[in-house]
């Protein structure tokens, strides 16, 4: 009798809920991913095809190479991409290896080294323009102290490219560092222990054990670095408008020039196609490395395999990474222990002569340790200095900004807050736009990406194809989409409105979020879903009541990184917006980054205001990321992120 009373309401409920709900439930495999597929088809697939059509139909793709400036631009692009990538890779690898080795302060060092990644690329450009300023910049002032007369850096054809590479390397090295550091943390301690008992140590351990095990991680790091530098637009833009642009402009910048300054739209389409093709090469290699089918659990068993993407062997390793405070203590303890045991083993089996050598190497090891600390401290200073410089510049008065006779004041004696006042007045409009747009994009991203990730993870909708598509979109330079989107936005009548940005920013956030969320979703046991199904929940209720609350950490990462993408975005807000802030409440589509581009180092002397602007723009994200560090790092490394 009682079972009757329990099951009856369920049946009534089912009948009452109508056709629609059951339709969505029945075809959940498709309905879950539908919003994502529809959006990506309209906003990414269409623009790419449109570029192809435009350039082929009008024949511009053929005359591509005869474009004025083309040779120099291709050369610039190659120098910039390869130069930045190799510098970033070497520095990132070195830093990761060293930070992983130090006993104390791993967390502090890794946080400090990560900070440049949190500064928006436009702000990075601005700050480095200040640093490279030939007359009042700190770099030449520092060189003067050493008795060297510094070059004109950004103002000179033969040094501007070098300056841009330095600035870009400063910004992007942390990404390489984080990826490799995560890979290092993923090597099980037992491997080190076994190797040290087998007599390996120091460089032989690095050469025979660590680097071979890191190979896939290193490949991912190089590709990520290559892709980020190839699509770099913001920083190149800042340098181009403030120096001899001919010697620094790269393909994305040329596309922008052709499309929106010179009005050669069909040539711009042709350049888009070329950029697309070039970008696809590293992307396909990356797709191979990322083993999409393993992340989806399509080939490997138990969903363990995808963690190999970053050389992360398991949950424990990721925990070690995301809970940095604990990891160093444990690892240093383990290190000490395995050192001791290896030494004991050596002492027992080797001759006394060898034992003496062991003592010598101990002394060497100790001095080596100090060298490591010294190096890391210098690296931290370099990581922090530009941030410090933008801050001190913002509070200097005129005389300290531009000392008569040149040079730079490193420690200002007087504080002048007028720059901050100006910045707040000028920025407030852009801030409102950025805040509203970011918030809307983040919410929409979760609403679209969450069901899509669940559908792909549990129903394997589209197999690996949908996910691969997401990764391809993720690694495409955003300039590729801008021209068709510009027409879209104009036609839709939302040009220079918040909607222009909200509708297009999802291009960056949705694919990224889907890939990230799938990774975390595979960690939720499928039995939870099944138990919920047996308990009477439908697919959509399972997403809402089970998956959503269980994914909280992943959601924090997703929100944080989506927020960062929106907040730092520059190209779209430059093109799709028009209204400059003029004291009234803004409704235009111009975000905070646009404000900084009004800086012209030569003609504009309100350095303090723009520096203050850079600080105001960067600070919220830096604080947020420091507070939520484990989510930030976890998300970046799990997604092997888009920079």
């Amino acid at each position: 009798m009682k079972p009757e009373s329990l099951s009856d309401p369920a049946k009534k409920q089912k009948r009452g809920s109508g056709f629609n709900a059951s339709f969505f439930e029945k075809y959940a495999k498709w309905t879950l991913v539908l919003p994502m597929v529809a959006y990506l088809a309209a906003f990414t697939l269409y623009p790419m095809l449109s570029n192809l059509y435009q350039s082929v139909a009008k024949g511009t793709i053929i005359s591509f190479l005869s474009l004025p400036l083309m040779n120099q631009t291709l050369l610039n692009t190659a120098i910039f991409s390869i130069g930045t990538t190799s510098l970033e890779f070497l520095l990132g690898l070195l830093l990761a290896l060293l930070v992983d080795k130090v006993g104390q302060g791993q967390r502090v060092f890794s946080s400090v080294i990560t900070i440049p990644l949190l500064v928006s690329p436009v702000a990075v450009g601005l700050i480095w323009l200040l640093i490279f300023d030939p007359q009042f910049g700190p770099l030449n002032a520092f060189l003067a102290l050493l008795g060297i007369r510094g070059p004109f850096w950004v103002a000179q054809p033969n040094t501007i490219m070098f300056s841009a590479i330095v600035a870009s390397t400063w910004e992007e090295t942390p990404l390489v560092f984080l990826i490799i550091y995560a890979g290092l943390k993923g090597i099980p301690r037992q491997v080190y222990e076994a190797a040290s008992i087998d007599g390996l140590g120091g460089l032989s351990m690095l050469r025979r054990i660590v680097l071979p095990m890191l190979k896939p991680t290193l490949a991912v790091a190089i590709l990520m670095a290559l892709m980020t530098s190839f699509r770099s637009f913001d920083l190149v833009y800042m340098f181009s408008i403030n120096g001899p642009f001919y010697y620094v402009q790269t393909l994305p910048y040329l596309l922008y020039q052709m499309a929106f300054v010179n009005n050669f739209q069909s040539y711009a389409s042709a350049i888009s196609v070329v950029i697309m093709v070039i970008a696809l090469v590293p992307t396909f290699v990356l797709l191979k490395l990322m083993k999409v089918n393993e992340r989806l659990g399509l080939q490997s068993s138990g969903g363990e395999g995808w963690r190999k993407i970053l050389g992360l062997p398991g949950t424990a390793a990721r925990r070690a990474l995301t809970r940095l405070p604990l990891a160093p203590a444990v690892s240093s303890l383990m290190e000490r222990r395995c050192q001791a045991s290896s030494e004991r083993a050596v002492a027992r089996t080797e001759t006394p002569r060898l034992r003496i050598r062991q003592k010598g190497s101990m002394r060497r090891r100790r001095s080596w340790k100090w060298a490591v600390y010294a190096f890391l401290i210098i690296a931290s200073v370099i990581a922090l200095f530009p941030v410090y410089w933008s801050f001190v510049t913002s509070i200097k008065d005129f005389n300290e900004l531009f000392p008569p006779g040149g040079g730079a004041v490193f420690f200002p004696l007087k504080i002048d807050l007028s720059g901050w006042v100006t910045a707040f007045q000028d920025l407030s409009g852009y801030l409102v736009t950025s805040i509203v747009v970011s918030a809307a994009v983040v919410i929409l991203t979760i609403l679209i990406a969450m069901p899509a990730a669940y559908g792909i993870s549990r129903f394997k909708t589209g197999g690996t194809k949908l996910v691969s598509w997401n990764i391809i979109i993720n690694s495409m330079p955003s300039v590729v989409f801008i021209l068709p989107l510009f027409y879209y936005v104009r036609t839709a009548g939302i040009y220079d409105t918040w909607w222009a940005l909200i509708s297009t920013y999802l291009i960056f956030t949705v694919p990224f979020a889907v890939w990230l969320l799938i990774g975390y979703m595979e960690d939720i046991p499928k039995q939870i879903d099944e138990a919920a199904k047996m308990d009477g929940l439908g697919v959509y209720s399972i997403v809402r009541r089970m998956v959503f609350p269980l994914m909280k950490p992943a959601l924090v990462s997703t929100v944080l990184l989506s927020l960062m993408l929106c907040w730092h975005e520059f190209l779209f807000t430059l093109i799709l917006g028009l209204t400059e802030f003029s004291g009234h409440v803004p409704i235009g589509a111009r975000g905070v980054t646009v404000y900084l581009t009004m800086f012209q180092s030569v003609t504009n002397i309100s350095w303090a205001a723009f520096s203050a602007g850079a600080v105001i723009i960067s600070l919220p994200l830096i604080l947020l990321a420091v507070v939520l560090q484990r989510y930030f790092v976890g998300g970046l490394t799990m997604g092997a992120a888009k920079g």
């Binding site: 079972p3 049946k11 039995q527 939870i528 099944e530 138990a531 009477g536």
Partner: protein
């Protein structure tokens, strides 16, 4: 209170046939155990009944209703998972009340049902904790509470004891059996552990390679196995199998081992002459230090004392088998002993089909 029927059910995953024409009848209120090694299809059968897997061919009935196309939430079947699948973000109370909340029962009734279930399972004191804060045994009881609270037509258990430690497993076994009898709910219990199936089930269905090998009461399975698989799967240590042949005529037959000088006369009549496999359980093999007439000789290969008894692995010409002996049976390695087999406890199998003979 319902019966469950599987009629000629087939499940294929691509080219792999996981369940191959299986028909099972579960009586109203019966405790039926699906027993088999991993990959035998037992869990797939359970999941098809739960509605978590589709049925490729055949029909499944709960009561008189064919449930093939009914979604799991409308089947009114509860399942306890191997890892319990408690919702980690909810308190135990919310876990237990979720199935009732989803069915939109009145608040008051939910509270009473949860109280009843949690009192019955003695987890009233942990209702406001999250599953992560519970011990293994408490988690298991919470999962049980979630299953019984909605008084479903059928209980499904998917190896629910395998995450418990050995000691707790034995007590949980008895508890589950008692609970099933008190509730009187039709129950299907999947396990690969023969002792669980033997101690708890009314009927055991032994599965291998997607097919039903035998379906019978525990004692019938043990004493009257239908084939070598069932004979070898039940009992610990498993039954010894010795290849050989039967000779003789109606009066009395004689077994001759193929690879070893083992000759056993006085085998009961009525069996077909020719190649056979002799099956004998370790407890039906007697060893002694002074061999009698008709005994055969074997050497001690390994000795495994267990306290009350010991298991001896014996060897004759490379043929090895296990015998149970008293703990105080004092032998050394490689020592020769005499062996005899209880003639009434000998099983013979067809070496080709592996079916039981006679």
């Amino acid at each position: 209170m319902v019966s469950v029927r599987f009629v000629d059910v087939v499940k294929r995953f691509g080219a792999v046939t996981a369940v191959d024409h299986v028909s099972i009848d579960v009586r109203d209120g019966e405790f039926l155990s699906l027993l088999g090694p991993s990959g035998s299809g037992k869990t797939t059968i359970l999941r098809m009944l739960a509605g978590l897997e589709t049925v490729t061919e055949g029909e499944i009935y709960v009561g008189d209703e064919m449930v093939n196309d009914i979604p799991p939430k409308d089947r009114d079947i509860a399942m306890v998972f191997q890892n319990y699948a408690l919702y980690p973000h909810m308190t135990v109370r919310d876990n237990i009340s979720l199935p009732l909340k989803v069915r939109k029962l009145p608040e008051q009734q939910i509270r009473e049902s949860v109280k009843k279930a949690s009192d019955y399972l003695q987890i009233g004191h942990v209702l406001d904790k999250k599953p992560g804060q519970l011990s293994g045994g408490e988690q298991q009881r919470a999962a049980l509470a979630r299953a019984i609270v909605r008084e479903p037509k059928v209980f499904l258990f998917d190896e629910p004891l395998s995450n418990l430690d050995a000691k707790l497993r034995v007590s949980a076994r008895g508890f589950l059996k008692r609970l099933q009898k008190e509730m009187g709910t039709t129950t299907i219990y999947v396990t690969h552990d023969q002792s669980e199936a033997m101690t708890m089930a009314d009927t055991i269905v032994v599965m291998d390679k997607g097919r039903v090998q035998q379906s019978a009461t525990p004692s019938a399975l043990f004493n009257d196995p239908a084939n070598m698989f069932v004979a070898g799967f039940l009992g610990s240590p498993s039954m010894n199998f010795i290849e050989g042949s039967l000779k003789g005529d109606k009066g009395a037959m004689e077994f001759l081992a193929e690879k070893a000088p083992i000759r056993l006369s006085g085998v009961r009549a009525g069996l077909p002459a020719g190649g056979v496999v002799l099956g004998v359980r370790p407890e039906d093999l007697r060893v002694s230090l002074d061999p009698k007439d008709g005994d055969f000789e074997a050497a001690i290969y390994v000795q495994e004392p267990l306290g009350s008894v010991q298991y001896l692995t014996l060897e004759v010409n490379g043929v090895r088998f296990i015998a149970q002996a008293k703990a105080n049976f004092d032998v050394e390695l490689n020592q020769k002993v005499g062996c005899s087999i209880d003639r009434k406890r000998m099983y013979f199998f067809d070496p080709k089909s592996s079916k039981r003979l006679g």
